[in-house]
Symmetry: C2
């Protein structure tokens, strides 16, 4: 992990509407024991994802997830002080997932030129090793035929990538036959044949790659989770839930499906406006349009009106049409834009919290900062940087001795909302598994 | 928890015989993945104690546990940086012990005048609360009929002690009916009637109080664990196992059973001398004689020869005869004395590590220091003080990038040996439960 940040990065909350969020935080604190009991019940019904990261937006009046990643790629951005917590959580997760495992194969993404991502792989490798497992790195790169040692440019750490091989129903690298496979590869291009039908456990399951997931599906489950949670916490679910609509068929280049998009943008803006009126919020509503399948920050657009969509120029269209590994965008989700009023650093960079979880445990987080982007924009774009949360701000526990607006408690709120998103992902994952089981039984 | 110690308390190891321990540490590092896999197997067979603390002695040539407490009373001595780790481990432990629990009753010891112990109760209370439980403190003090608020002298924190009441098969305090009971009371005086046969889960089980336990029984299980572990790690079990013998009937005041004691001291000293010769250790062997039932540092004697026992004076006899809550000492364990060569602080105080565990997780530790005691003596005596371990020395994970004699790795060794003792306690606990089940079925 990176060196600790001694400047204790704490963003100040730039918003006039602190009322509702403080009310939300107070409620979470008051009801922490009931909320935690509810989470425990939920995890008994639906096991948590092996790991996950959730991007949050904190508007002051609202705190909501905007993306839930089941193959988190920023473990290197966590504060090193979180390491023991990560190690302990991996031990707990493996106990549940595969108690017999002693050898683990870590399969990362193929992009070996992204030095930041490689740092993530090195950190994750160390965490798994420190959790007490034999671990090696198996690469799916099609042109890799021999083990390849990389020396990382940033930390100087070394990584040995070995080609994944298959021997009947088991994968291996060299003479190392692991008990289980940990995927840090979202398999955007589909689950590769070499992993299909193997005997070893694979976590997370390969069918949770973005080639299978849709954001609208995830946020559908999230809506359900938020409603149930809101009853336990006694709040309006909207305070933690971004409204959304989706369009099944959109082709930005061919200008197909635009009517659906415009109609939904209009309807969603109206819904948000109604909520803003209800809470006396003076800001201008906006929506975020993005690919319904996963992207790496590509194909994301902010719109304040239907006009914004209508007048989108060719460059913007090309941008919207591009997605990871060149796949065409065919479905879009139109999501309530959540302002982020957190700012940080001398350059007053716009900030959004990213929370990391392993199993049911919040194990750390950081701020994604972008001084080139405004508070209505996607920060996962050029100019982005990260600031780890300091250890004493860990989100796992509220501190009853602090006021609700003090740091440990704001971060507890982050941890609660992030876990709601993880729970939605757990239900999504269970539904995918059930669909696959049904398909398999029909086929049989 | 106490304020963090910024002086980074690291004892220097005062010994000429660093060879064997460094060899031991190197072995633990090299085999960490196998050792951890072995621990995982063991915890599947025998669930870990809810919590435990283990006193270790580090002789340089040997690292061994000398006491295993199943009702640890020093959570206040842990570094506050360990808090998140403790909270997460409590969540994991409760998930296994009682996943449905939302209300927990914490039952502490009755001694309300020990301000250090009360700090421990307050810290433990906060940890359980932060783990997401409704928690209240139920007292077994016979003269407590109304709730009593205590303001702690050291931290200024407040504790509300409420009398435990019983309503048919359930215990409660006021209108609070907990799902489970966490005991921080070792029930030296026997399991009280009010807890017998209740419907709620009690962790740890009340039959693990010292009125039921014998050190010789525990160290018998430990010997077995150490032998199995030594095979996995490829070491001589003696390097982690203190030799011992026991005498069933001793009455120091009445001078009964002295022959047994003298014979066993002689035999044990011979065995230790043989081991010292084998490893070329020049120190003088010694033994520790203590009550076979639990004590709070009372009734502990160091002997270097049979003469030491024979010439024990009346004052020493009275001391040996006294035990917690005035019970007469009737059995004694004679344990290999393990030098502690760790020294710390300006006064060169003798130091021994104490490791804390919750469930299977090492969650922190501290040094017990005593500048008035030598390296062959029990440090749990007047003059004792504590130094928390700093966070980055957490014992849960070895650091492959450090040499075997560097701090994280020495502390990893502490965590391994402490967990061996916790595993012995787990087997002891299972045996007790089986004996009780048999007794119950015979009675039925």
């Amino acid at each position: 992990m990176n060196a600790p940040d001694t400047n204790n990065p704490v963003p100040r909350l730039l918003t006039a509407q602190t009322g509702p969020l403080l009310a939300l935080e107070s409620t979470l604190l008051e009801r922490a024991a009931d909320i935690e009991a509810w989470f425990r019940q939920q995890w008994l019904k639906t096991p948590p994802p092996f790991y996950s990261s959730v991007d949050l937006r904190n508007a002051g009046f609202k705190l909501a997830p905007v993306d839930t990643n089941l193959f988190p790629g920023g473990f290197n951005n966590l504060n090193p002080a979180f390491e023991a917590l990560c190690v302990q959580a991996i031990q707990a997760a493996m106990q549940r997932v595969c108690p017999q495992a002693s050898g683990v194969l870590l399969i990362p993404e193929n992009h070996t030129r992204n030095q930041f991502y490689l740092e993530n792989v090195a950190t994750l490798f160390n965490l798994i090793k420190k959790a007490g497992f034999h671990v090696r790195i198996g690469s799916l790169m099609p042109d890799l035929h021999e083990p390849m040692e990389l020396t990382l440019e940033i930390s100087g750490r070394k990584l040995l990538l070995e080609p994944v091989q298959r021997d009947e129903d088991r994968v291996h690298v060299g003479d190392f036959y692991p008990c289980s496979v940990i995927l840090n590869n979202d398999l955007s291009a589909g689950a590769p044949e070499i992993l299909q039908g193997i005997d070893q456990d694979i976590v997370p399951p390969p069918n949770l790659g973005w080639h299978m997931r849709q954001k609208s599906n995830h946020f559908g489950f999230y809506r359900e989770v938020a409603r149930e949670f809101a009853e336990v916490a006694g709040i309006d679910p909207w305070l933690v839930d971004p409204l959304f609509r989706n369009c099944g068929q959109i082709n930005f280049m061919k200008r197909e499906g635009e009517e659906c998009l415009e109609a939904n943008v209009e309807l969603l803006l109206e819904d948000i406006r109604a909520k803003y009126t209800q809470y006396g919020i003076k800001e201008e509503p906006f929506v975020i349009i993005k690919s319904d399948a996963g992207t790496y920050g590509m194909g994301v657009m902010t719109a304040r009106s239907v006009e914004d969509v209508r007048t989108m120029n060719r460059k913007a269209r090309t941008h919207m049409a591009s997605a990871k590994e060149g796949r065409e965008v065919t479905g879009a989700i139109i999501q309530e834009g959540v302002y982020t009023f957190e700012k940080m650093g001398e350059d007053e960079a716009t900030a959004e919290p990213v929370v990391y979880m392993i199993d049911r445990y919040v194990v750390g987080g950081f701020y994604r900062l972008n001084s080139k982007r405004g508070n209505q924009e996607n920060l996962n774009a050029p100019g982005m940087r990260f600031e780890p949360l300091a250890f004493d701000e860990c989100c796992s526990a509220p501190d009853p001795d602090c006021g609700p607006d003090e740091r440990p408690n704001r971060f507890y709120a982050y941890g609660v909302v992030a876990r709601l998103a993880a729970l939605a992902a757990a239900r999504e994952s269970q539904a995918v598994a059930e669909i696959r089981a049904q398909t398999a039984s029909v086929a049989a």
